[in-house]
């Protein structure tokens, strides 16, 4: 299993791609269009839903799908670090002072900050929403082959956006391995040791600058090689992406009806206590 990881809490693209190319679960044979349609509906659903119980149910369902697909659970927990950090860095400050039953009271610089039950519920709700989307996004990435993803990108985005996207996706693995090699070289020469912020900053800045410089060098070489092979600004994909199956279509229709019903109910304030 190939891995190129700089830190345990950032999703490893090599590992993700390995799963995408080697996954043999039922989801690997599902049409990417079905997966992206469900992703879009899921975004709408987590945006309009407020009920903690319903959100937890959706999250559990997504986790089950992730595990049934045979994807790594331990890695997923590590990869949750940054989304959790993003949620709490924003919400962690704003939930203080929400009306409700007080749970914690802190005095900071003469000001009293109160954390209430409603504040905690808001934080939990947003956290579950974020984790649901992270899990489903990684599930899509780890069960969809590169050729399918590339064809979907080419069909969705206009030129030259699709070209930049497709090329950058290909270059990404090259750049990541190049960055990893340079960091390894720095560490093997004692560069990983913190001397001072200035020294540490300088070392990393030089590594990053070299990544850009070598990227440009490679871009020039790749550009010349592509021109020599007849590239004229259009990187076309010849793969056929399977259309949604009958079951896929039924799932999309049912899920769409549920999302539209919840959307209408939330707009008309029906069943407010449930939604």
């Amino acid at each position: 299993m190939p891995t190129t990881t700089f830190s345990e809490h950032i999703p490893d693209l090599d590992l993700i791609t390995w799963y995408a190319e080697n996954n043999k679960s039922v989801f690997a044979f599902m049409s990417p269009w079905t997966k992206f349609a469900i992703l879009t509906l899921l975004v709408v659903l987590v945006t309009v839903l407020h009920s903690i119980i319903l959100l937890i149910s959706i999250y559990v369902a997504v986790i089950c799908i992730y595990l049934i697909a045979g994807l790594p659970a331990k890695k997923l927990i590590l990869w949750y670090t940054l989304p959790i950090l993003f949620v709490f860095s924003l919400i962690g400050i704003l939930v203080w002072g929400e009306p409700g039953f007080p749970l914690i009271s802190l005095k900071i610089f003469g000001l009293t900050a109160i954390l209430t039950d409603k504040g905690v519920l808001i934080a939990i709700s947003l956290l579950i929403k974020a984790l649901t989307m992270v899990t489903f996004s990684l599930f899509i990435l780890m069960t969809t082959r590169y050729s399918y993803l590339a064809t979907v990108i080419e069909r969705i985005f206009p030129a030259p956006l699709d070209q930049i996207f497709l090329l950058s996706y290909r270059f990404l693995f090259l750049t990541i391995s190049m960055t990893a090699a340079m960091l390894k070289a720095v560490c093997s020469r004692g560069g990983g040791v913190i001397y001072s912020i200035r020294m540490q900053g300088k070392i990393f800045a030089e590594v990053f600058a070299l990544v850009f410089i070598r990227s440009f060098d490679r871009a020039e070489r790749v550009h010349k090689a592509m021109i020599a092979r007849g590239y004229k600004g259009h990187f076309s994909m010849n793969n056929e992406v399977p259309a949604p199956s009958q079951y896929g279509m039924i799932s999309i229709v049912i899920f769409s009806i549920i999302v539209i019903a919840i959307l209408i109910a939330s707009q008309l304030k029906w069943g407010l206590n449930i939604l």
């Binding site: 987590v46 945006t47 860095s89 990435l141 990053f208 600058a209 410089i213 490679r218």
Partner: protein, 216 residues
Amino acid sequence: MAHIHLEDGSFTLFWVIVWWLCALVLIGSALFLLRIKKTKDVKKITMAAFVTAASFAIFQVQIPIFGGVHLNLTPLIGILAGPVFGTLIVFIVNIMSAAIGHGGWGLIGANVLVNFSEVIVAYLSYRGLKKVTSSLFFRAGIATFVGLICGNIVMIAIILISGIQGITQSTLQILTGLSLLAAVNMGVAVIEAFITGLIVAYIGKVRPDILEGTVS
């Protein structure tokens, strides 16, 4: 992180759509500008793709300062690629980030607007400072810091306009909370400005042609 990646569920559906539409107008304008200039220059597209890949790869590296900092280098994208290609690059980087859970799919629109402000302000500041100082380190460092300040202001403005779902505090209370967040972000922005300054100075020493508008 010098700005926050907003996660799905933070805004109401109405504001998700509004910010997506604003971002699509920006991206559409960038594509329109490229088409009227008839910029189907294959080399520029290849370079832009490499800048995208490099900035995304660098984002994956944790710098062991203050317990670990990740840099987005969006101002550097502006300096190297310019505002037109920069807009397309930040859009792609945001999609890639959303795919690995760093920012929501629904919030890509808002995140693109935040990043775009960083790209354009850093680009203009970097160009404008040419008359003031010839030091690449100071030009890039100042441009990055100013760009990140603007990114933070745009982020705060977007959050104040949209509101966070479930939060019932007054605008002033939210502003107070966000100011605290912005202060922390500015601490990281100083590190990012310092590192970007060093990166640009190093590129200027080794490959000055890259800074002379290879992509832009």
